[in-house]
Symmetry: C2
Subunit: 329 residues, 2 copies
Amino acid sequence: MPEQQRPVTIRTVACIGAGVIGGGWAAYFLSRGLTVRAWDPAPDAEQKLRRVIDAAWPALTELGLAEGADPGAIELFGTAAEAVAGADFVQESAPEDLALKRALLAELAAAAGPGVVVASSTSGFPMSDMACEIDPAVAGRLVVGHPFNPPYLIPLVEVVGGERSEAWAVSAAADFYRHIGKSVIEMERELPGFIANRLQEAIWREALHMVAAGEATPEEIDRSITDGPGLRWPVHGPCLTFHLAGGEGGMAHMLDHFGPSLKAPWTRLEAPELTPELRDDMVDGAEVSAGGRPMAELVAERDRAVIAVRRAVAAARAAGAGTDPAGRS
Amino acid sequence: MPEQQRPVTIRTVACIGAGVIGGGWAAYFLSRGLTVRAWDPAPDAEQKLRRVIDAAWPALTELGLAEGADPGAIELFGTAAEAVAGADFVQESAPEDLALKRALLAELAAAAGPGVVVASSTSGFPMSDMACEIDPAVAGRLVVGHPFNPPYLIPLVEVVGGERSEAWAVSAAADFYRHIGKSVIEMERELPGFIANRLQEAIWREALHMVAAGEATPEEIDRSITDGPGLRWPVHGPCLTFHLAGGEGGMAHMLDHFGPSLKAPWTRLEAPELTPELRDDMVDGAEVSAGGRPMAELVAERDRAVIAVRRAVAAARAAGAGTDPAGRS
């Protein structure tokens, strides 16, 4: 690659947008000892940013700050181009509006220095759709770096390039996020909504359908998750969860036993055909997720974790409300 | 109600089926100080049951046993009718096969004493479909009592009757589960998959679609949840999570901002029309879930809980694997 396209060492990050996501990113970058240059068109941008960072700082302190981390190491600029000038990495967190993102990303890509990656926090737009009209000379540095709210606490970042993104930019973004402690999924191809938002959106749409049909209330939907499968998902994802649901037979038994329920009207989402190939991919995938550990060890891990999660959540709720922290709810 | 249909005081539970769910129920009932009468047609039923109970007992001890709880207070019988005779409550956890459930529930309903509820652990069959051919004289005592795996750790139980279920039986089941520490959702009408399994099934089908299309691996799908939105779901369900995603504007801002993305191809599930009525139902529902607490308090609660959940999960994993328990993964 040409010299000017080698990724630079990152000490200063430009945060474009100061809402819940942009402010959360700023707080996280500051906690990692980085300097932040920010821009947001809102007249109260500075107060908004300050509020998000102040709210996040106790949590970040609790998790451990990097040496030299300073919640004051942030400066606001009058234009996006000024904020980007001198930044080693750019994180764009503007509202989810395609026309707005297109115009803003064109400006950011042009203002960023050589070797500087511009990552978008977009919740679901493929970069190819956002970068289609951008000068090819600078479009290569644009990638998606999609966080989860709040970006200062949830480790996942989905990284994926568009048709014009250069490979060095995708790798540099993934390396940077990993270096600052994120859990990165580097996707090989574009997919609207990436991975986690597709799963979350499926839940959300089914929830909206149930409320629209008068079948369940939002409160029942929330409790069905917090007191039900939600207690398992921080421990084992949906595939490993069903591997355990199969008992000693694991995913293979689960698919052979519950396969017919894929045809049941248990959700408005039509199921794919459970071909022998898909069955085998799921069974093999569960083995990868299980990391070769025997079922008894996975069950013991889940049990320890679910108990600890129940206690942790109950204590966190009680700290705010003065209720029973025993974890029995 | 006639005298013989008043719910009896429950000291002895019949567990029909000794798989992961039936065995998990048995362990939970024993931990609450109840006596269990079990039946399963498998030749190694006793060893299977013993294995599940032994694996569950450390977790149950950790959570706190009821006075007199005895993991040995369980007896296996040669027929389902024998196990049910003398039981004050019956929990059916047979394989998810409609014809099998129909025949078995008919036998259990006939064998159960007056005032004894027979609850099915079915993952999704409406009771009306399972009880359609059962003698009306005894069908009234049949209800759904749907747990989540493992039943000894996940609090949620969904309770719902069928067309012929009597109101006293539905109430008695809900009261019993609540009395033994479960989080009960008593549904007013039947819905295939109930509530939580519809949400979980939506995730599962989208996951299967992604694997079938080569868009993501099961390992990526699992990590996208455990390191992403899965960390929030034990704290705040999907509705309250999106209330927080809206920042100070809450659910109203979220729907007005992300409403258009309901039309985006972020999942294979078609979204409902976001009518003004549905929008208002979601906004009002989020207020109910929030319990009148201001946004800053909800954010602080989530942050405390997510930190504690991350640490709890990391420690539980490390206890099995000897890895870093700092919770940064």
